[in-house]
Symmetry: C2
Subunit: 355 residues, 2 copies
Amino acid sequence: MLKPGATIGILGGGQLARMMALAAATLGLKCHIYAPAGDNPAFEVAAASTEADFTDEVALKRFAAAVDVVTYEFENVPARTAEVLAAIRPVHPNPRALAVTQDRLIEKTFVRDLGLPVPDFRAIDSLEDLMEGAAAMGGFGVLKTRRFGYDGKGQAMIRPDTSLAEAWEKVGKAASILEALIPFDRECSVIAARAAHGDSVAYDLCENEHRHHILARTTLPASVPLGLSHEAMAIGETIAAALDYVGVIAVELFVAGDRLLVNEIAPRVHNSGHWTIEGAETSQFENHIRAVAGWPLGIARRRARIVMDNLIGDEAERWEALLAEPGAHLHLYGKAESRPGRKMGHVTRLLPENA
Amino acid sequence: MLKPGATIGILGGGQLARMMALAAATLGLKCHIYAPAGDNPAFEVAAASTEADFTDEVALKRFAAAVDVVTYEFENVPARTAEVLAAIRPVHPNPRALAVTQDRLIEKTFVRDLGLPVPDFRAIDSLEDLMEGAAAMGGFGVLKTRRFGYDGKGQAMIRPDTSLAEAWEKVGKAASILEALIPFDRECSVIAARAAHGDSVAYDLCENEHRHHILARTTLPASVPLGLSHEAMAIGETIAAALDYVGVIAVELFVAGDRLLVNEIAPRVHNSGHWTIEGAETSQFENHIRAVAGWPLGIARRRARIVMDNLIGDEAERWEALLAEPGAHLHLYGKAESRPGRKMGHVTRLLPENA
């Protein structure tokens, strides 16, 4: 258990690290951000920062020695980086959670082995595998690289008229996974937090809308039966427990009819949980910091109906109108440059529960 | 009007500056903290910091040139400091607000001239003045230095059996003010915010309990009739308007029977407003930053009944129990050293409105 005044090391310098650092500061903890050169808005709110590559073992060791615990804002932390750090300081969530979630095949297998519902899937290591798999799935599926995909990158839709050779090119002929195409009604996510001693909480189920594979809007409550919402929350806590996880975890789910299917696990705070800053009794960022500090979790109760909109690219230019809108909670991430598809901020609106 | 990415310069490096910087970061603004050497926990959450004395004009000018607007966390900014800065960048609240509130005689006169209720007072420049004044007030009063008093320092109670010579010694024979002793029922405060274009908001009236002249607890709603509460809120906005004020202002008041009396003005965010972080739609820190940035204010609506307790000196050692208490919002200020009387943190509890 850390004491106030201790230092949390965070890998990654983007908005998630920034919001973690703000939560840590409220609790009297220091943050040390480690990130490669670039636009790192988290540096601006941290007690210390290291600008170095994730492969720079000298810098990594110096960083680890300067902090009390290490966490991260993104799942693509190289395994060797986690290993170097974990030899010196506790790393939360643990390197196994990273290993499982960095590989879609391992992740899906892990979830299925827990007895949780996942779309049908199979490993694809060659064009032949893809041809076989696509045929077995009736011509429909989604081909995804096993590793390092995000925001729709490294993916190809498979339909009966798709050129499988082209799809195989599109994923760079990398080790991949073919997932059954789920005719889902909605996309949801559950954010859970698990403390070092094993207690966990889950936030209410979020309903998510994507545009161009990027989260555009999260609303709560999700328009699903309450039983399904509770089932999803239990799935989040089950996965966290199975990974012996410490920190905040996000599980993306498809809702198809009355069925839930696990789509993806993110071993970190999540964009669909940004509403918790104003909308929940304890934010996902505070609960992540509490967990990695070895502290008890805060209450995850939701305060209101929620609409959270991402401000992507030039949408952040609406900042003046949003500031003037009563009850709109504007968050800007302090990024130096706006680019299409870049998350620049978000805005959360709390609505009365019965409006 | 500042643009996101602009830099707010803050004089002072304590917890108020720290909480302002956290609010600014959420809105995509940078902060540059200027404070003399010492324990400056605000440095840890700011994009830049300058450690220099308030009399170091070279450092002040460099600081002013590096920021877009200047604000401060405490009212005892030397007049010359404000003048040097104001020649280069806008200073909010304006130097006149500083000048008025740095001198209890000028402050009380200003409030009385607005037609607002203040305790009887008179200037004391000699032991003779004090003898005359004490007699005129029936032997009871509070002697306070005109300048640089806080948390009960530079004050002496006057009762019929008090040695006036000793009281005069106690305030260092400095230019002082004798105020009538008010047999008040409770101490309250009102936090108001005023934007550059003149709009203002006031938070609900706070009821304050002091121990050893230091704020110990703030509760809302104050146990006063609603009419009195609204009158106090109007007083806050009236004073802000009269000072052509930009930012958050706090007005401390005595409640005696059905009367309000203005005790003191603080031209800054205020300890009795810390509950607004979780308890109001927009915190006092966010509204202060919005105002000094030239932005519109956010809604000041209160969300719940509130109890805010300061953690003073070793009270902050209760952090572990507070973290484990459901619904207790713990704030620790990251101060390196705990000392008796030192504000180390606070805890805010939100209670259902009708509990």
